[in-house]
Symmetry: C2
Subunit: 491 residues, 2 copies
């Protein structure tokens, strides 16, 4: 597979970086699932030391030279080019952003996380304000150091989604915003369910867990390479992609949609990592290429498949078997329960239709923050006005407004748009394939999964996101499909 001697040497050097990343993944997974509480005292030190080590090996002079040399070689294969491309992306950050900035960023965000948690509890934005101000300042420095063509925000977008620009995002939202608003208006006038009694039904955790596991078995996972655990926040981790990929779910005790659809969501992420070609394992291109593409896989499984009428009908016997309280509900009831549409305040609880307006709000504010066009102290007011304008609801306090998400406290600015990108690409896949719902109705998930494997999964990070989409589907982020998909589904 690897023909270039230089790339072979690069992979030899990279193996220890991969091994350290593997260790970080195991430690991360363990921290969220089984680690005893006080274990954090050792874990934090170990993870920080190993993160430093990874950086040191990445910046190793010989390694950097090898990468530069390989870049000049002609006749590289696609995989070899992918390896050089992804390594150069990683190096760019380390080389351009001064270590002092990285260090201060780490310090500020870890303090900011604590401040944010307290501020959210007390619904007091002022407690978080100075931290966010500093984070935005540092983010601006990072953007300048990384460089951009049109807008500093583009440098940040690219950190999470290779090659994504404000222009792309604007184009997407220029279609989505009117499309969703007009759909919302129609749904309201036609009386699409805004609430469902099942939302308030408490459940037995063990029974819902059994049902969720059976649904996961129906969608099909490789037992020897996959596991499901419980954690406070659901996540997917490719411990050693594609040989060992794990997801987590949580059970809160009321409204069983949450664990069901978060399990399907994480399973979509997992499937991506599980289907990456084995020959790419332990190389820089051996995992999913970007957050947006990853999110397209989880949204596809959660929404396009999981929230379809056909899927609801298919899993309803399993759900009824485990959950007595479903006896009086028909399959169609389940479908409406899964697809309630209601403008609301909290992004993570939003339905398929309104979700992207939550992202649009954040995208707009982030761009203003990064250029300094808005003072951070004005954010809550701006947030609330924008919620009103986009969704017709207004937060009663900052906890359910500007303070709701953890991302800014983490320093992740430029991240949110990848969620919408994921929804856009999921709808594209739906139409490009053409027969997803028929296959779900037949229970033929294997064929759907094979399609995703061929078009997306197997390639890992060999091609950048836009190229991957163009190769598989003939176009990149076309939001028309998402509007059409929503219009048809909620017709």
């Amino acid at each position: 597979m690897i023909k270039s001697e230089t790339v072979r040497q690069i992979l030899d050097h990279y193996r220890v970086i991969w091994a350290l990343g593997h260790a970080q993944s195991v430690m991360g997974w363990d921290s969220e699932t089984y680690m005893p509480e006080e274990g954090i005292k050792g874990r934090a030190v170990a993870r920080a030391e190993i993160a430093q080590l990874i950086q040191r090996f990445m910046l190793d002079e010989k390694f950097v030279k090898l990468i530069e040399r390989a870049e000049e070689e002609k006749d590289l294969t696609d995989i070899e080019r992918g390896i050089i491309r992804t390594l150069k992306r990683d190096l760019k950050f380390y080389q351009r952003v001064p270590p002092e900035v990285v260090k201060e960023f780490a310090k500020v965000t870890s303090e900011a996380f604590v401040a944010w948690r307290g501020a959210k509890e007390k619904a007091r934005f002022d407690l978080f304000l100075p931290y966010l101000e500093r984070i935005v300042e540092l983010t601006r420095v990072v953007a300048e150091k990384l460089g951009y063509e049109e807008h500093p925000y583009d440098a940040l977008l690219d950190l999470y989604e290779e090659g994504l620009t404000s222009r792309d995002v604007e184009t997407v939202f220029s279609v989505l915003e009117p499309g969703i608003k007009s759909l919302l208006y129609k749904l309201e006038s036609r009386g699409w369910p805004r609430r469902h009694p099942l939302e308030d039904v408490p459940y037995d955790k063990a029974k819902v867990e059994a049902a969720v596991m059976e649904v996961l078995e129906f969608v099909g996972y490789p037992k020897a390479r996959f596991r499901v655990d419980v954690s406070p926040h659901p996540f997917t981790v490719g411990i050693a992609t594609p040989f060992d990929v794990r997801i987590t779910v949580r059970y809160r005790g009321v409204d069983f949609r949450e664990p069901l659809f978060s399990a399907l969501h994480e399973y979509g992420h997992a499937l991506y990592e599980l289907n990456i070609d084995e020959s790419l394992a332990m190389t820089p291109v051996g995992s999913g290429v970007s957050l947006g593409i990853h999110e397209s896989q989880s949204r596809f499984m959660e929404n396009v498949v999981g929230r379809s009428r056909e899927f609801a009908a298919k899993i309803s016997p399993t759900l009824r078997k485990h959950l007595d309280f479903l006896a009086k509900y028909a399959d169609d009831d389940l479908f409406y329960y899964f697809n309630v549409v209601r403008p609301s305040l909290i992004r993570t609880e939003a339905d398929e239709v309104t979700y992207n307006l939550h992202i649009l709000l954040r995208y707009r504010l982030e761009r203003l923050m990064v250029t300094g066009e808005v003072k951070i102290s004005q954010l809550p007011e701006l947030w609330n006005n924008e919620m009103d304008r986009l969704l017709g609801v207004r937060p009663r306090n900052d906890a359910e407004g500007v303070l709701q998400d953890i991302h800014w406290a983490h320093g992740s600015i430029g991240y949110f748009p990848t969620y919408t990108l994921g929804n856009v690409v999921a709808a594209m896949i739906y139409y490009k394939h053409g027969k997803i719902r028929e296959l779900v109705a037949e229970g033929n998930l294997a064929s759907v999964k094979e399609y995703l494997r061929e078009k997306i999964h197997r390639w890992g990070s060999v091609y950048p996101p836009k190229e991957l989409l163009s190769r598989g589907f003939g176009e990149t982020y076309n939001a028309e499909y998402l509007v059409k998909y929503l219009d048809e589904k909620y017709d």
Copy 2:
């Protein structure tokens, strides 16, 4: 705590070595508990890479020089001296044993493990013979490179138990062998139970698990720093001593003594790591000092405490609550079930009295193997004769004879005597304290644990084993206590 600037620099450098060891511990624990089967494909590579990295950082020239410089400093504190002593021990192996030998040893033992497993299944020593021959040859090279004063076996003993010599082991067995043999003779003539009906009673795994967890709660563990999982072979691991220490247990479905006492055994190991002084965390002296001292803690908890009449009486209500089949048995029945004595073939199933004769056999054979006084092909015959001579039983085949233990396939020669050392020290602690059984009868385990903490645990590896024992108990390995303890218990 650290006054020497040199030692401070040593600890700074050591932190990354500690972090890598921490990662190895988490990965090791995960491999035995939760890792999906095929995860091994990535895990094996990651662990090998990180092991190499640890070696590289240990042999770093600057680090070695710092250690040498610190060694010459006067006025080092006990802790500082302990740090230098333990690092020099680690370095000694890396520096004296050529990398080719280490590499071949790793290769041969990993092949030998597979060969041993097959040979044991088929009860055919000849399939394992060539591997064991090569392992013994390499072990002899290692012993020569490490150096010794009296006997090459001493170099191997020292690898597992700092400062232990054949002379020490001979002295121990010169007391133990006649003592145990005469006790066995007495027990037989007086009709001490050789079997108990409870040995054959099948159990519900979940119920025994609940009972074991309740017994562990009775002996008391710090919930925020400890956890129990299930694995094929029970073990203890200090993931980040003393903040995160974990044990595992297995449930085979018959004879509930096994999970009960292996849980207490592993808990004894865990307690040692949990009680090491927090100020030693993440330093080279921040974990248990040797296998023998570690085993003394597990044997103390398992046998001296766990198999006492007082403990049986104390936990019998818990056991009865969970296990219906105990209704017809009195507390004394439990005591005899826990303390059946029967010369038998398999070390890991041996009782407290005969156990050390199994070790004596292995010790004798290992010494003959290392000097070449016996041909490896003669081992099965020698083994069987020695079993007959020591215990009056004779294996019907090599699977229940010379092939039973994994240690030689792992290349662990010189390891077995630490088990007996552990039993010896556990009995010493019993008499040095003087009132263990009274405290167990009162249910006052906290006081017993505090004693162990003060005498052994808190010191980590600050003092070498013999010095630790001398400081705490005024003498080192005195086997008279073990003979006395057994004589009194089985009277």
